[in-house]
């Protein structure tokens, strides 16, 4: 049996819940992500997606768009796993993974949970509920956010279902609702 090359797909590790949107409306933001990062407005999460679409601009497949939450989102059907978006993101928020890992944690912030709770509606507060509920011990808290180990993960979705903040996302949109589903 011939072996196909394993497909890789991009994952954006931010769900865009930053409350800075209210203070600095996206319309008023200028420049690409790198410029935005340098001028980082007051109250804006210093870990999450800047929403200026440098990744989308880099993507040659039209696989990345900025969703209504203001965060980048990759379309796995279109994505070919080339990694250009990974390089384009000044915050290193995008990683490549295998399509079978449709459950992923969409937050990499390293601030204490109490602070995150204040400025972001979808930020990981390191409560550890995912860690407790993972049947295969694949989730751990590292630098104040959940990290899923794909060597162990069986993509059962338990962490996504139990996450009280919507940080852990099911790309397939079964265990958590995905905006993209509506549009597809």
């Amino acid at each position: 049996m011939g072996q196909k090359r394993k497909k890789r797909v991009a994952v954006v590790q931010c769900a865009g819940g930053c409350r800075a949107e209210a203070e600095v409306p996206r319309k008023e933001r200028t420049g690409d992500c790198r410029a935005m990062a340098e001028s980082s407005p007051e109250g804006m999460c210093k870990w999450g997606c800047l929403g200026q679409g440098s990744c989308a601009a880099a993507c040659r497949m039209g696989a990345i768009r900025i969703n209504s939450a203001g965060a980048a989102e990759a379309d796995r059907e279109k994505c070919v796993g080339c990694g250009l978006c990974v390089k384009a993101c000044p915050r290193n928020l995008i990683r490549l993974t295998a399509p079978e890992f449709h459950i992923y944690s969409a937050c990499v912030n390293e601030d204490p949970g109490a602070q995150t709770r204040k400025y972001c509606s979808t930020g990981c507060i390191a409560c550890g509920i995912c860690v407790k509920n993972c049947p295969v011990n694949a989730v751990r808290i590292e630098d104040s956010h959940a990290v899923i180990d794909e060597e162990k993960c069986i993509a059962c979705g338990m962490c996504a279902v139990k996450c009280p903040r919507g940080v852990i996302i099911d790309y397939d949109g079964i265990f958590t609702v995905r905006e993209g589903q509506v549009e597809r």
């Binding site: 049996m1 011939g2 072996q3 196909k4 295998a98 079978e100 993972c134 049947p135 295969v136 011990n137 694949a138 180990d149 060597e151 162990k152 069986i154 993509a155 059962c156 979705g157 338990m158 279902v161 397939d172 949109g173 079964i174 265990f175």
Partner: protein, 864 residues
């Protein structure tokens, strides 16, 4: 619809106001029993369904999250899909115990719907979340490939195969239970629903060792819907046990618990939900005591006594010749200490039983390895004549030795008699892990000697088994460990001491391999070290010492004419020698039949009824396929087809006792009884000109017993067992240390069902690889730390290429068409072969299982 949560299930709009796991809604409200509850933790995959085209675990999804979705279970497959999967899984031998199968079918369908022609890799990835403990996945992957091909129109269903007109020994026989297991309508005990049925569950000890000062269950009893709360006082005789009755049904107030699996009180309630609430309302006062956590602690002079008679549960001394002198005079001698862990059976179906008052006693619908054993234990508990207890097996979702002791059956019976209603007891997965006996953890020191040509001279060894809180089958398991520590070789000086100690760890008992996995791991490793000293290859030293027909085994038994160890060695020689530095080899032998002087009888009764032959024999088919094997034996003898012979299952009321499914014995011992009864029937059938209808109402009963000698019998060549199976495995690593291939050559006598035997071998090998590399059962102060998902069970993407080879000789035993058992031996040589492969690769001797510093252990660590 007015309900809060609405969704489509198998094409029908459904709704509920209750928010709960979708698994519970599908099973309890819609009675879709194909959706199996294997863990309710998201780890096992038995509850896999399809939601909007995706394979999803229904225990993870909730009714609330399912709103608006389109849900399919195996009940909702199209006719075409049903037939494709039934045929494909039957033809390829994908089904054993069957508990994982509906989930596998759904994972397979979800993949095929997206990718009509999936590659092997794609199937493995799609099955990553689904555990199978029986097959080693290979046959399930093949089944899904064939199902896909049929659905694409590339392959056709051959209807004659399932019909089975040619069903005799050696035929490509379609298992009897494929259809019901693939489509999920076959009943395991948890699928039984009865009018007025209530639920019972035990509140178990919080501590491995603690004095129970008081049990406050008043609040639980007052909860509406709670029928009763039982304690030790309600048990007529509070001791059960498979062989030694040392196991308290419940720990009485004032007594001391022995492990965390101990029951303290038993609650009976109208529903599962009320039961769970009630259990939380029970408050138990304990005086926590320091547990005995290891054999060393148990042996200490001032050790607390786990049982009043002391901590030594069992001991054996097996000796022949003069090992001391032989070793002293040996050219080369190797002494080495080895350690092996507890292992969890991890059968996919957690323990479950339904009991109800019946005639002048009780009837129990069970999932076990011997209905007469269960009957005996329950009757001891009640202080009744055994006949008052009727035990019938439903489908058994895997056993591997872990369902020989009573678990849920006796407490279900107790509760049923108390509340006078049908009672279901089903274990949670964690309860199962904490309660049932494991494979014994071993520490052993092995000394093996040989002469300058590598011919073995003698063996001295000392084996320590941790048998945990209860004896279970400690005696026989320890004995097999001792008697088989010699290996399938030819030398006459042995001195083997074995000790089984009680501790406060979970109990240990029977597990596929029955003590031999431990001792042969140690022996085979020592053999490699001797080969190195002599300067010959590990293959060569085994071949030089291999037992052959007419020669004398180290226990004194003369190897019979069917012995084909050398043939298995030759079968893997090329594979071994063409992978220098990457291959390991190990041999094994395993008894078929209980032997050692015990009355190990096979019984079968054939009744001609409604123009068909009904086969009655209480021999549990725990997934290995003996029910099919018996029908094949009867078909071979009589020339009848599958449709004319019905296996009536294991029911103590109507089927004669044919012993426990243990000791790889059913194919040979019960198989021969079936053959004998079928031969009598065939005589009469011939007289009737082949017209079965003329025999209507006739009964043919046969009992098979081939006597053996007890251990240490004072005869020149004691016959310990009716037969031995032999095997040689070769494990081949890739450059990263990952297992690439396993060649498993087996002598099991005549092969009754070629597809089934491959499945037994492949499943056994994968279990052996788990034992070698990934499976562990960590304890912290005698409390199990593992969940089902962290036991280290191998998943589909991890499997190597397993080549199941069977050698069939001309000379065979005169029983059961020459078939010997395969059940256990497939698990035994894999771990030592894997260890040998690593030794060949990096020359580090790994004396502990699971092995450290391997490709697999690094992967595990990287993620911690």
């Amino acid at each position: 619809m007015k309900e809060k949560y609405c969704f489509t299930v198998n094409g029908v709009m459904r709704g509920t106001d209750e928010e709960k796991p979708l698994l519970r809604y599908l099973r309890d409200d819609l009675h879709l029993h194909s959706v199996k509850d294997g863990c309710s933790e998201g780890a096992c995959g038995t509850c896999t369904i399809i939601v909007d085209g995706r394979a999803v675990k229904s225990c993870v999804l909730t009714t609330k999250l399912a709103v608006g979705r389109n849900i399919i279970t195996t009940e909702g497959l199209s006719e075409e899909e049903k037939e494709a999967f039934v045929y494909a899984f039957g033809s390829k031998g994908s089904v054993q115990c069957g508990f994982c199968i509906p989930g596998m079918v759904m994972a397979g369908k979800a993949l095929i719907d997206r990718v009509p022609d999936p590659t092997e890799e794609e199937i493995k990835t799609a099955l990553k979340g689904n555990i199978c403990r029986c097959t080693g996945y290979k046959k399930i992957i093949e089944g899904i490939q064939l199902a896909a091909a049929i659905l694409r129109g590339d392959e056709k269903i051959e209807e004659m195969l399932e019909k089975g007109d040619a069903y005799g020994v050696g035929k490509h026989a379609f298992r009897l239970d494929v259809r019901e297991k693939v489509l999920g309508y076959g009943e395991y005990p948890d699928d039984v629903e009865m009018d007025g049925m209530v639920y019972a569950s035990a509140v178990r000890s919080q501590y491995p060792r603690a004095r129970v000062l008081d049990i406050h269950y008043e609040k639980a009893l007052a909860l509406p819907g709670v029928l009763d709360v039982l304690t030790a006082e309600d048990v007529p005789n509070n001791k059960v046990g498979h062989l030694q009755q040392d196991w308290d049904v419940m720990i009485a107030k004032g007594s001391i618990t022995r492990c965390v699996g101990d029951a303290i009180c038993l609650i009976v309630a109208e529903s599962r939900e009320i039961l769970e609430k009630a259990k939380k309302l029970v408050k138990i006062d304990y005086e926590e005591l320091k547990p005995v956590t290891s054999v060393q602690e148990a042996m200490a002079e001032d050790a607390p006594k786990v049982h009043s008679k002391g901590n030594l549960c069992q001991s054996r001394h097996v000796t022949r010749g003069d090992a001391k002198t032989a070793l002293a005079n040996s050219k080369y001698v190797v002494t080495q200490k080895y350690t092996t862990p507890f292992t969890e059976h991890a059968f996919l179906e957690p323990e479950c039983a339904v009991a109800f008052p019946y005639k002048d006693g009780v009837k129990v619908l069970s999932s076990d390895q011997g209905v007469y054993d269960t009957r005996k234990e329950i009757s001891i508990m009640f202080g009744w004549d055994p006949e008052r207890v009727v035990v019938e097996n439903k489908l058994v979702g895997g056993g591997f030795g872990g369902k020989e002791d009573v678990s849920a059956q006796h407490i279900a019976a107790l509760a049923a008699m108390k509340v006078n209603r049908p009672v279901k007891v089903v274990f949670s997965r964690q309860e199962s892990i904490n309660f049932h006996p494991k494979r014994h953890a071993m520490e052993g020191t092995f000394t093996l000697g040989c002469d300058e040509n590598g011919i073995f001279t003698g063996l001295d060894c000392e084996i320590y088994f941790d048998t945990g809180a209860y004896a279970s089958l400690c005696g026989p398991v320890l004995e097999r460990a001792c008697t088989h520590s010699v290996g399938p070789y030819c030398y006459q000086n042995t001195d083997i001491r074995g000790y089984g100690y009680y501790t406060n760890n979970p109990p240990a008992g029977a597990f596929r391999g029955f003590g031999v996995c431990q001792s042969e791991f140690a022996l085979e490793s020592n053999i490699n070290l001797l080969a190195e000293k002599v300067g010959i290859s590990p293959w060569e030293i085994r071949y030089r010492n291999a037992i052959e027909p007419g020669k004398v085994l180290p226990n004194g038994q003369i190897a019979d004419c069917s012995t084909a160890l050398k043939e298995t060695l030759l079968a893997v020689k090329d594979a071994y020698e063409s992978n220098p530095g990457r291959a390991g080899i190990a041999c094994a032998m395993k008894n078929a039949g209980v032997g050692v002087g015990l009355p190990d009888k096979g019984r079968a009764k054939l009744i001609v009824h409604d123009g068909k032959v009904e086969l009655y024999s209480a021999a549990s088919d725990i997934g290995q396929g003996c029910a099919t094997v018996f029908v094949q034996m009867a078909a071979e003898t009589t020339g009848l087809g599958k449709e004319q012979i019905r296996n009536m299952g294991a029911n103590s009321e109507v089927a004669p006792d044919s012993g426990t499914t243990s000791g790889s014995r059913q194919t040979l011992i019960t198989g021969e009884a079936v053959r004998m009864a079928a031969a009598d029937l065939n005589e009469e059938l011939k007289k009737a000109g082949g017209d079965l209808r003329q025999l209507e109402g006739r009964e043919f009963f046969a009992e098979f017993f081939d006597p053996t000698d007890k251990l240490g019998a004072d005869v020149p060549f004691p016959k310990s067992h009716v037969a031995y199976g032999f095997a040689t495995h070769v494990v081949i690593l890739d450059d990263d240390g990952r297992v690439k291939e396993v060649y498993a050559a087996h002598d099991s006598g005549r092969v009754v069902n070629p597809i089934s035997i491959q499945g037994q071998i492949e499943g056994g090998v994968l279990m052996g690889l788990g034992y070698a590399f990934t499976e562990d059962f960590p304890l912290k102060d005698a409390v199990p730390q593992a969940k089902y998902g962290t036991l280290g069970l191998m998943r589909a993407p991890q499997i190597p290429d397993i080549h199941a080879i069977y050698v069939e000789k001309e000379e065979l035993l005169p029983f059961a068409y020459g078939a010997k058992g395969i059940g256990e031996i497939a698990t035994i040589p894999t771990a030592p072969a894997a260890q040998g492969a690593y030794y060949a690769m990096d020359h580090v001797l790994r004396t502990k299982l699971p092995m450290e510093d391997t490709y697999y252990s690094k992967k595990q660590k990287a993620v911690r």
